[in-house]
Symmetry: C2
Subunit: 292 residues, 2 copies
């Protein structure tokens, strides 16, 4: 995008990577979270050690990893990395009121996913935590013996993948630097710890709710569904809107017709023919509305 | 053994599962550590979740596992499970003096194993920690994504294998009960946690240094090497001596000729022909000495 700025010059981008609330309820998405993350590699010896022969004297890479990860997030989900929340734009009372007007089906979604109880940062509603607050998650961890039964070793290496979802005005590069600094500072002295940032990084994105394209899209959706769209956010990440905003100076309006049960990103992802038809009409109407 | 008590009745057992200090220095081993352990299985949802769509509201099995493991052992290696040290026979001043007379090559062994610095329970020497204090080690842990690059999931399961080395007068069954109780008590409420004890369990074992068989073995080794054996312990576990002591009421004297560099338990384990020859002579001498 940066290399072809002149050729790409425009007033607005429209992205179909968005969704309906339901077949009867349109939504307009005003915010996407950003993303950054790293892998943590711990080494405590050149090979796995006998836990009898060396137990009590040799450092254990798995325990060192546990100590590092335990220092990054508390039991409730609050991120403990110093400075992590510094650039997070505070949620105003007006904004919280607006978020609260959107019906929240998080409990239903959680139940369907086999979750026993919701968890997350105290002091915020589930919607606020998912849409407007940053998170830190261990996506995977491994080290030592994972086969049947027991193997009495002291593992010489342990690894974890950690990613953060970001919100305005956090910058992925700055958050990565904070994460790496935190890991270095909390690495036990008796082990070697390396951090490797992931190439996949994205700024958080937000479009003003009263942007002319949002108003136009809202008019189209209202005409199409006979019902005004709800203003929502997404906890997920789409890198392109932030890239276009930064490189071309334009906003992207999300205008899509996926539904939640369509196995998004899975090998058996699908879209209903009715949604394709609805989208075809909607895009034509949007072009006319924007031209006006 | 229990089923064949009468057929196995005897005064003493002799086990070749022991070793030399070096080719010039005999040792007699007076203690072996015991063993018990369990697998910890954490589940937080029925499938891995999208860390954008559910991040901030869904519990994370990996973080729950980290919290549990972090509660079991502190940064220095002290076990935090309540009651874990209750049955540990205290190390007397005389005993500590005796342990301190054995040359300690732990630093060299650690350096050869690529260890940056020793670690372990404060207040005890490396020898004491390895020979006479119990330990708790994570032998392996896994959960979530462990492939190349990043995958932004909230893992729905995470697992760890944990074993303890035990010393007199700890009992494996009692320690297992303490471990399971601890895990239950520290399991975050929003996840399911199951513990599965390993079948492999062993009592710690100790033979009095002045037991007649130890005296006899000492005489043989002194004659053979021209040098008195050092009285040592082992941080490792051999279940049989404790089983024979419990079922038949007899002690086992360790009388073996392995050397430390012989890749014990590895596929390329070996023994020097000179050690076989030494052992052949030593066992004949021991039978004569015991008969006397």
């Amino acid at each position: 995008v940066e290399t072809n700025r002149d050729r790409l010059a425009c007033d607005l981008a429209v992205s179909a990577d968005s969704s309906q609330g339901s077949e009867d309820q349109p939504v307009l998405c005003e915010a996407l979270r950003g993303l950054c993350g790293l892998q943590i590699d711990v080494r405590s010896a050149s090979a796995d050690l006998h836990s009898g022969v060396m137990g009590g004297v040799a450092p254990n890479a798995a325990h060192a990893l546990v100590a590092i990860l335990g220092s990054m997030r508390d039991a409730e989900g609050r991120v403990l990395v110093e400075g992590f929340y510094d650039d997070v734009a505070p949620l105003g009372a007006e904004e919280r009121r607006a978020l609260a007007t959107v019906p929240d089906d998080t409990e239903d979604t959680a139940r369907a996913a086999g979750i026993r109880a919701l968890s997350g940062e105290p002091g915020f509603t589930p919607r606020e935590r998912n849409w407007a607050r940053p998170t830190l998650e261990v996506n995977g961890l491994w080290g030592g013996y994972a086969g049947e039964g027991l193997k009495t070793i002291i593992p010489c290496e342990a690894h974890a993948k950690v990613t953060c979802r970001l919100v305005p005005d956090q910058e992925p590069r700055r958050v990565l630097a904070l994460l790496r600094g935190h890991v270095e500072q909390h690495a036990p002295a008796e082990v070697e710890v390396r951090t490797v940032p992931f190439a996949g990084r994205s700024d958080p994105y937000r479009i003003p709710a009263d942007h002319p394209a949002m108003v136009a899209a809202g008019r189209v959706l209202t005409a199409l569904y006979g019902r005004a769209p709800l203003l929502v956010r997404s906890g997920a990440t789409v890198p392109l809107p932030a890239i276009l905003r930064r490189s071309l100076g334009v906003y992207t309006v999300g205008f899509g017709f996926g539904l939640r049960d369509e196995h998004i990103h899975a090998p058996d992802e699908f879209i209903r023919l009715a949604s394709l038809e609805k989208g075809r009409r909607a895009f034509c109407m949007l072009l006319e509305e924007l031209a006006r």
